[in-house]
């Protein structure tokens, strides 16, 4: 379980998040949703110890993420940020292999190579393995980043908008892979996602943020309601059922 309490972040005295208190349950997929600027990335990057909070604590299975040794934590938790702009020219295979760093410290074993191979296959990258990152399309690059994180093979996986740049097919594929990782390997996956219907279809729980506060956290059934969604997104939303699945309509 990831727990955060009184967590807040200010920039130049301006509060952008919190103080918030809450938890991400162990196991399954939790989607974080909310409008632009709600503080989703801020929350996620603090949970992944990439951003120092102004105050408050984050613990993962009881261990403080800001004081636990980074190398130990890296075997337990991996995170991908929303924006990734690399100037270094690496091949897909090399990038994904660096996901194994916490386990191998650079000397790749057979087991590491197997993780790298599986992770690339998971994301349909095998044919692109020897391409340089700057020779890929935006969506292919995004998949390479996710493959690197999955190769890290941690119990907790935090992904900030992993569907960025992905086409419909690859979005569904990615969600299925994450689903499989959660169900079969027992991983705890937290993703930030903009398409509420995608979140509802593929995750177990939804955490909704707005204006730097956690508005609500709950199961799909609890969140996929007209009143809740209308409040979170500050725009009229209607939930209907298609094939026994809740679908939010917000086009009108």
């Amino acid at each position: 379980m990831i727990e955060f309490s009184d967590l807040h972040k200010e920039y130049q005295g301006q509060s952008v998040l919190g103080p918030v208190t809450g938890a991400i349950e162990k196991g399954g997929i939790t989607s974080i949703v909310g409008p632009n600027g709600a503080g989703k990335s801020t929350l996620l990057t603090m949970m992944g110890r990439l951003l120092d909070p102004t105050g408050g604590t984050v613990t993962i299975e009881g261990r403080d993420v800001f004081t636990t040794k980074s190398r130990d934590l890296a075997r337990n938790l991996s995170i991908l940020r929303q924006e990734n702009q690399f100037t270094a020219r690496l091949r897909v295979r090399e990038l994904v292999a660096f996901g194994r760093f916490p386990h191998s410290q650079g000397r790749l074993t057979e087991e590491d190579l197997e993780h790298v191979r599986a992770s690339m296959e998971f994301l349909n990258l095998t044919a692109l393995a020897d391409r340089y990152l700057d020779q890929l399309s935006g969506g292919q690059r995004q998949r390479a980043y996710v493959a690197m994180v999955l190769a890290q093979d941690t119990e907790y996986v935090l992904l900030d908008e992993p569907l960025n740049n992905l086409d419909m097919k690859h979005s569904v594929l990615m969600m299925r892979q994450l689903r499989r990782a959660a169900d079969q390997l027992g991983k705890t996956i937290v993703i930030i996602i903009h398409d509420i219907n995608f979140a509802a279809a593929h995750s177990d729980r939804i955490m909704a943020l707005r204006d730097g506060q956690v508005v609500t956290t709950g199961t799909i059934g609890e969140i996929m309601r007209d009143t809740v969604l209308t409040e979170v997104f500050d725009t009229p939303v209607k939930v209907i059922e298609v094939d026994a699945k809740p679908i939010a309509i917000y086009y009108s």
């Binding site: 980074s70 190398r71 100037t87 270094a88 890290q152």
Partner: protein, 323 residues
């Protein structure tokens, strides 16, 4: 594929050996492989001046190109190296300060002082870099070049006030003509630094992907940056004292290797070292032969070739306008 790579490696080693041999044999005093065995005076000359000079060239070439490689990874910028970040200029200032305060300082002390100054220079550069919002790839070396220019100006002013302009211009022109036995040996520290970089290689590559990626795979980013900066400072400090100012080598060499092989430091390191040594040997040979019996300092030749490659890289970058 495999044989192609083998051929490339064999070719590289062959070229390096040929350049080394040429560097050993070319010069004012007539030394051939034949008279090395028959003429004791030639042999004496060979070991007192030719061998040290060639070794110094190779070590300095490795030092500057590996330093460039390290700096490019830790700043995530292709255009930095010790002379475009102010690091080398600070080392020069350090040397001048020892000349002013204690003119008879032994070389080892000078090297320590120069390294400390180089470290300061790198840290100032990194500190300024952190405070600049616009990290476009050309702004970064521009900042470094300006910092270097300020330090150079202070150095020249101080040198002029203490009547040391001549020693400083000798430093500035980075020559190998004065290198003899008993003078170049500290450069062997470069070998130790290259080994250290080899052990740090993966961490440097990941650092090249930025602080966040480094942290998320459990690397202590700040420590890697610090150790890398320290290695560069020592390499630059020692090279500055023994040889002087060697511009552009650290820029040209890692960039050419990166164009061909990407940016994986571990695999690139031997290539960067070999190409660095080859290029400086070549520039030195040019400098020694075109106006023989006079010499053009190697830094001048390097400056001319390096500037051309630098401009070519900038133009190439413009075409790939994406970043």
């Amino acid at each position: 594929m495999k044989t192609g790579r083998l051929a490339l490696r064999t070719g590289a080693v062959g070229a390096l050996l040929a350049l080394t041999t040429a560097s050993l044999l070319v010069g004012g005093y007539d030394i051939t492989i034949g008279n090395l065995f028959s003429d004791p005076a030639a042999r004496e000359m060979f070991f007192i001046s030719r061998v040290p000079r060639t070794l110094a060239l190779i070590l300095a070439g490795v030092a500057m190109s590996v330093s460039g490689l390290i700096m490019q990874m830790i700043t995530q910028n292709r255009f930095v190296e010790p002379t475009t970040t102010g690091t080398a200029q600070w080392a020069g200032l350090g040397i001048l300060v020892t000349l002013i305060i204690a003119p008879n300082t032994p070389p080892l002390t000078k090297m320590v002082v120069a390294s400390v100054f180089a470290m300061t220079g790198s840290l100032v550069f990194l500190w300024v870099l952190r405070r600049v919002a616009l990290k476009s790839s050309l702004i970064v070396p521009l900042i470094g070049i300006m910092l270097g220019a300020v330090v150079s100006a202070v150095t020249v002013y101080l040198a002029a006030s203490f009547n040391l302009l001549q020693s400083m211009s000798a430093w500035r022109s980075g020559g190998f003509s004065g290198i003899v036995r008993g003078h170049y040996e500290p450069l062997w520290v470069v070998g130790a630094i290259t080994v250290a970089v080899f052990f740090l290689a993966d961490r440097l590559t990941v650092a090249g992907l930025g602080r966040d990626v480094a942290r998320s795979v459990g690397i202590n980013y700040e420590r890697v940056i610090f150790v890398a900066t320290l290695l560069v400072a020592v390499a630059t400090g020692v090279t500055s004292v023994v040889v002087g100012f060697l511009p552009f080598l650290g820029l040209v060499v890692p960039n050419i290797v990166s164009l061909v092989r990407g940016d994986n430091v571990r695999g690139n390191l031997p290539w960067v070292a070999a190409l660095g040594a080859a290029l400086i040997l070549l520039c030195d040979l040019i400098g020694r032969t075109v106006v023989a019996p006079m010499e053009i300092p190697v830094s001048v030749v390097l400056g001319a070739i390096g500037a051309a490659v630098f401009i070519a890289l900038v133009l190439r970058q413009r075409r790939h306008a994406a970043f």
